[in-house]
């Protein structure tokens, strides 16, 4: 039975959600349209949804004159995301599995050891000094890969709860009684059963690596050739900042991009930076929502 109030509510609700959905994507659409606008037209009329003149020049410029710089950064982003996600899973999964074993001696203490890292951290200064002076990650690929992103306690504990709830201990004990070693039990019994959770964590970690600009920002001071796409975008942004503050020339800006980049080119690069996420998102969207729900319940 549909009352009048119902109909009004549905109409209003759909309108509201349409407006909100549009506002979520409109900035991205403006960015994409700007990247396809003629540079002169953009400077004259500003960023616009209806450019007076379209142009592919920005993409030509990115790929022709600066193809190597951009492609290199793209390659580094891909490599970083792949290696980072793989290593992260290799460390997170066994640790979470171990913590989920009810009979493991010292389980409580180890869980606290992991958990404590969520409560307290030394802060940026000691962390920076530790990574640069003890491990020398400054201006190396490890500077992008290792600090803070490689594994985090939250993912470990999330996966641990999944092992506890989703993989019955009876099954693991049975495998054990059948003569399977602990290693074997984990690889061929527990991990296959935890696949959905592992996929979710892989996605969280992968997105974090793809979107990270912070590590490069802090640890790559001279080696601009190691910049990921996000770092390159960040450096372009800094060039605008320099412009705005009327400062001197930017020192060691990424080779070919040292010149002040044009407005449309910046937007083209940002579009390229967001592209992989846009392509993958429809596929992972369901899993992503599920992951948030799981994570939201706990912390």
């Amino acid at each position: 039975m549909k009352t009048r109030e119902d109909k009004v509510f549905q109409a209003l609700g759909h309108t509201l959600m349409t407006v909100l959905s549009l506002s979520a994507v409109i900035p991205v659409i403006l960015m994409i349209i700007s990247s396809l606008t003629d540079n002169e037209a953009l400077l004259q009329n500003g960023y616009s949804f209806f450019p007076s003149q379209w142009s592919l020049y920005a993409y030509q410029w990115v790929f022709d004159s600066n193809g190597t710089v951009v492609m290199r950064a793209y390659g580094i982003s891909v490599l970083l995301t792949a290696v980072g996600t793989a290593l992260s899973l290799l460390m997170t999964t066994p640790l979470a599995y171990g913590l989920s074993k009810p009979k493991l001696p010292w389980r409580g203490a180890l869980t606290f050891y992991v958990f404590f890292t969520m409560l307290f951290n030394g802060g940026l200064v000691p962390t920076y000094i530790n990574y640069t002076s003890v491990f020398g990650v400054k201006d190396t690929f490890y500077g992008l890969l290792v600090p803070s992103l490689l594994m985090n306690a939250f993912n470990v504990l999330l996966m641990k709860s999944y092992f506890v709830a989703g993989v019955p201990n009876e099954i693991l004990e049975a495998a054990n009684i059948d003569g399977a070693s602990e290693m074997r039990t984990m690889v061929s019994v527990a991990i296959p059963m935890a696949k959905p959770m592992i996929a979710t964590i892989a996605m969280f970690v992968g997105i974090a690596y793809w979107n990270d600009w912070n590590n490069g920002f802090i640890y790559l001071l001279k080696r601009t050739d190691l910049f990921s796409i996000q770092n390159l975008l960040n450096r372009l942004m800094q060039n605008i900042q320099m412009l705005a503050t009327n400062s001197q020339q930017v020192s060691n800006a990424g080779e070919g991009l040292a010149k002040i980049p044009q407005a449309t080119v910046r937007m083209a690069m940002a579009t390229l930076g967001i592209l992989p996420i846009m392509v993958v998102y429809p596929m992972i969207q369901k899993n992503f929502v599920k992951g948030i729900t799981l994570g939201g319940v706990k912390g």
Partner: protein, 318 residues
């Protein structure tokens, strides 16, 4: 049942039992080791270095050989107006985020849960999308709207109302609104999913009986939905309060493009620590501010968790 019982009794308290446990589990420990070592390097090793806040740091000597100066760094820090500004900004922004995001997320979740039709799922995915965009790219999006010379707002919106262009990136007073808006744009979709999942778990019987009694939608929301949501709201808010001394570095550094003229409303503890460390080379001040953040942050997280624990054991982190 029997098997289970005998299983749990197997590792007796005897020494032989413990030894057997270790013999059985050593491969598990071995597998856990890389993760444990990483946490040690990433989270535990820097901890003693926090004492740098009590030293006059000299890069050549390193943290431990640098000269002790006691609480001098803190004295300097709190004598400047910076300490007050960054603390105020960090806390006020977080309070605003909590209020705005919670209200919007609940509103959207409630509307979504009542909507019918195929587009429901699509709305949900689309409003979540901003959450996957990196802060650097968000700063580009903001720039496209607010750029002084060619931004969409100055060029297309303000002229419609006959308002003169605003130099957004040099007037600090606009930034609280911009930052709160950008943050909501990015986070509401995420928060909304958590609330929606909670809403979906409610017993429909409450609503059916309310309908029979002729309760309006607004009444249903006020007297059924909101009270049922209360534990989730309290929990998420407490968690956020536990993080009230922390801010998203990118949101306050990248989005306002690190403009000095905007520091009054965009400088937070995190941006202050970063600038001290890598731009000004003032490691003493920077580390004092960092330790101030870690220490108070720790107390707040613990406090919030204890409260959560009192309210609902299962939702607590510890």
């Amino acid at each position: 049942m029997n098997i289970k019982e005998s299983n749990t009794r197997l590792p007796t308290a005897s020494i032989g039992g413990k030894a057997r446990q270790y013999r059985r589990f050593w491969p598990v420990y071995l597998m856990m080791l890389p993760g444990l070592i990483y946490l040690f390097i990433n989270n535990y090793m820097p901890l003693p270095g926090a004492i740098v806040a009590f030293k006059q740091y000299n890069a050549r000597l390193g943290i431990y050989s640098s000269k002790w100066v006691g609480f001098k760094n803190f004295e300097y820090l709190f004598r400047t107006s910076d300490a007050w500004v960054i603390t105020r900004n960090t806390i006020l922004y977080n309070v605003a985020f909590i209020i705005v995001n919670t209200i919007l997320a609940i509103l959207v979740a409630v509307v979504l849960s009542e909507l019918t039709g195929k587009r429901k799922k699509a709305y949900q995915s689309v409003i979540l999308l901003p959450n996957l965009i990196s802060t650097v790219i968000i700063s580009y999006l903001v720039f496209a709207f607010f750029s002084v010379g060619s931004g969409f707002i100055n060029k297309s919106i303000l002229p419609l109302f006959g308002v003169a262009p605003v130099s957004w990136y040099s007037e600090a007073k606009h930034w609280p609104y911009i930052i709160i808006f950008v943050n909501a744009w990015r986070s509401v979709g995420y928060l909304c999913i958590i609330y929606l999942a909670t809403l979906m778990g409610f017993d429909r019987a409450y609503y059916e009986s309310a309908l029979i009694d002729g309760a309006s939608r607004l009444k249903q929301f006020w007297y059924i939905t909101l009270p049922l949501l209360k534990p989730t709201i309290v929990m998420l808010t407490l968690m956020a309060i536990g993080r009230i001394f922390y801010s998203d570095f990118g949101l306050f550094y990248q989005v306002p493009m690190n403009q000095g003229a905007l520091y009054a409303t965009t400088n937070t503890i995190d941006t202050y620590v970063y600038r001290g460390l890598l731009q000004l080379g003032d490691i003493s001040m920077s580390s004092a501010a960092g330790l101030y953040q870690s220490a108070i942050g720790f107390v707040l997280v613990l406090g919030a968790n204890m409260l959560v624990r009192v309210i609902d054991r299962d939702s607590a982190l510890i």
